[in-house]
Each structure stands twice: as structure tokens, then as C-alpha cells.
Symmetry: none
Subunit: 123 residues, 4 copies
């Protein structure tokens, strides 16, 4: 059902990896509004991390109104998942691209380098 993969070596915090993968699951349509997520305990066991780590990830997504939790029942994808109007979305895309380019430039990579590299993944 769920296919989470955590990379303990990446340096990216585990709870953030969980957040990213849930966001991706929703954005990609894999999970739909109202659907129930695995319980914190189940996911913690599956990922072999502490309960609190999963809980922290769920909590942040709840604050962002991406998830809803009902104590004693479970955690669910929010009914109105991330109403991003197109403008906001565009802005987000621009800002993360700019941030990324700045970082990449500092390593001496050009836009061409990056586009070429990304091109390999478009399949």
C-alpha cells in the first residue's frame, strides 16, 4: 500500500522525508481526500523509527492543514487538500527554482548542466 523509503544517510531529517513523501503521495494523486493514513505506530514500525518521529511529521502536516487527525480514530488526508491557486503554485515553483539555481551556481553548474541532468530523468 504505502511505500515509504527513508534514507538514514542523506542528512535530511527522517521526519522531513516522511513529510515530503506524504506530500508527494497527495500531489501525485496516490492518496485522495479523506483517505486514512497508516497509524503512527504502524508506520513507525514499518519505517523502523520511533513513534515520535512519525508523530512529528503528521503534526506538521496537520498544522499545514494537509492532514486531519481525530483522536482515537486515526489520521486522514484533509478534505480540502491544499487549495493552491495557480498563481501561488507558480510563485512557489519560481522561488524553489531560484533557490536551487543559486546553490547550483555556487558549485559552478550552469542552467544547461542542470537541464541536461534533469532531462535524463524525464522518462
Amino acid at each position: 500500500m504505502i511505500e515509504f523509503k527513508l534514507d538514514h544517510k542523506s542528512g535530511v531529517p527522517l521526519y522531513r522525508q516522511i513529510i515530503d513523501q506524504i506530500r508527494y503521495g497527495i500531489a501525485s494523486g496516490k492518496w485522495k481526500a479523506g483517505e486514512q493514513l497508516p497509524t503512527v505506530r504502524a508506520l513507525a514500525v514499518e519505517l523502523k523509527v520511533n513513534l515520535n518521529t512519525v508523530s512529528k511529521a503528521y503534526k506538521e502536516l496537520e498544522i499545514l492543514k494537509i492532514l486531519e487527525t481525530q483522536q482515537g480514530t486515526g489520521t486522514f488526508i484533509s478534505d480540502m487538500p491544499i487549495e493552491i491557486n495557480e498563481k501561488e503554485r507558480k510563485g512557489k515553483l519560481e522561488s524553489i527554482c531560484t533557490e536551487f539555481l543559486t546553490a547550483a551556481n555556487s558549485y559552478g553548474f550552469t542552467v544547461e548542466d542542470i537541464v541536461e541532468e534533469l532531462g535524463k530523468r524525464e522518462k
Copy 2:
């Protein structure tokens, strides 16, 4: 003249921003071999950061043989042209692209979205 811009909010460590900007300055030919850098103290004052932060950046660049410190004289851009191993460069490009894609995907952006956005900047 050196022009650093640090972003305290980006989440990228300050010392890494300094390192990256020096590397980039050299890679872009803005700074040449043998040129002298500001003292740790001077740069710290200019950037309004802690002495240790600048010091850490200089040290890492020395280890990378990008800078050379001459006792009592100052810190200079290494005479040796920065040889960036092509394989290492490739690896770095791949890894930062992967990390970036993971984050972008979680917001629902596809490789196509990103390539399109980057394309606008390819002038």
C-alpha cells in the same frame, strides 16, 4: 572587491554560503589565482557573522586546496588551478538534482514543470 550576500533565512548554513560563494567566485573567473582574501576578522565584521563561521569556511577551503594561508601574511587563492575531478563533478550534480527533485515533487511539480521554468532563465 568581494561581494558576499548571505541569506540568514535560507536554511543553508552561513559557513557553507561563504564557501560556495568563494568557489563560485573562482570558478567564474571573478577572482584569480594568487589574489588575497580579506582577513577572517575583516570578513566577519563585513558579513556581520561570528568569527568562527568565517574561520570554518576558510579552513574547509584550505583542506580543499582552494585557499592557501601564509602565516603572518594572509589568505590567498591557491596558485594551483582548481582541478575539479570530472567524476566528482558529475556525482555532485546528480546528488543535488536528486535532492531538489524530491522536494519539488512533494509540492506536485514534475520534471517538465521545472525544466520549463528553468528554460526561461537560459539566456
Copy 3:
């Protein structure tokens, strides 16, 4: 400086009490944009709670963009603290009043009862 008071008996989670008091401190103008908050450790000692409890409160306020943290430096009131446009604010007021009235009604209290009780505190 800071005058936090936690009520361990109220049933309200400690970290939420901390959040409320910080929000209040900002809303009331006691703390201004850019000002530094006590360190997590200092506040934890002062309140006699665990470091993680304070950290959790700060984290939530950071997600809400009310606080900003710089690793190694400290935690600060966000530069643009809570840009609430008047409409949003009105809406929030209405919704919390409605919620409260519903609860109060169920105990048989009328709006008049409440206004009278609140009146005592207006000094």
C-alpha cells in the same frame, strides 16, 4: 523579562500554553518584530519542563511563520509578524465566539450571563 505561567492542572497541554502566551506577548505588543526569545533550554529550566516541550511550541510557531529560528543563534519574533488582514481577523473572532457560545449554551449559560461575567474583567 518573560513572565510565563504554566498551569499543570488545567488539562491544556503545556506546549499549547506556551504557544498561547507567546502569541499573546506578540499581539499585546510586549514583544516586537526581530526580538529574541529565551533559548529553549533557558525557558525549559524556567518553566521546569522538558526541553522538547518548549521546542515543540517554538516549532509550531515557526511553521506558522510567527517565529524564526537560526540554528546556533537563537529564536526570534518573525520580521513580519502575523499579517492578519482585518477580514481574516473578524472571521477568527466570529468563529471562536460561536464555538464558545455553543459550549456555554450547553451548560445553560446565556449570552447575557457571559457578557456579565466578562464585564467584570474589563478593568
Copy 4:
């Protein structure tokens, strides 16, 4: 006829919402002494909640002597008019007002704001 409305998102426990609505129904004269309530099972089905949730609510109301259960017959509104100790009532009013004010204050609302808002509803 009973008309319950439960709000799963409010954060208020479902069993408490049931309790409050029964109390309110009685306080407002909508239900009279001796009247029979739906069975635990029936109400659970109607509200689409767990049996235990309704059961917990009924039990607490029995403890408060607001409901009476007659073995094998059903659950009834107590014959004894709800005698609410005036002192207890005052205390309850004070405590819920205090809790509400704390939350409202943290959003920057003053007692005046609230009284004004509540005034609109005093018809």
C-alpha cells in the same frame, strides 16, 4: 425527536458534544423530565459513532443525576429537576470564561472585542 449535530473537526470530544447537547436540550426545555432517550445502540447508529462513545456520555450524565437508567426499560430524563448548585454554576461560568479569554487573548482579541461581538447575538 432528538436532533444531534456532531462536529468531528471541532476538537471537542464527541462524547462531550453529546453530553453538552443533552444538557442543553434539557436546560432549554426542549426535553422534559421523564422523557425517554434513544437507546445507546440507536443513537450510536444515528450519529455514526462508536457505541462506547454514546455509552460514555450516558454514563457521565447518570453520574450527574441528569439521566436515569431503568434496567430493561431504557434511559430517561431524570424526574428530579436538575438542581444546579448556584455556587457550582458560578464557578463553571468563571472557569470557562477564563479559558476562553486566554485563547482569545493569544490572538490579540480584547475583552471589548469579544463583548462587542457577543452583543450582536443578544437578540
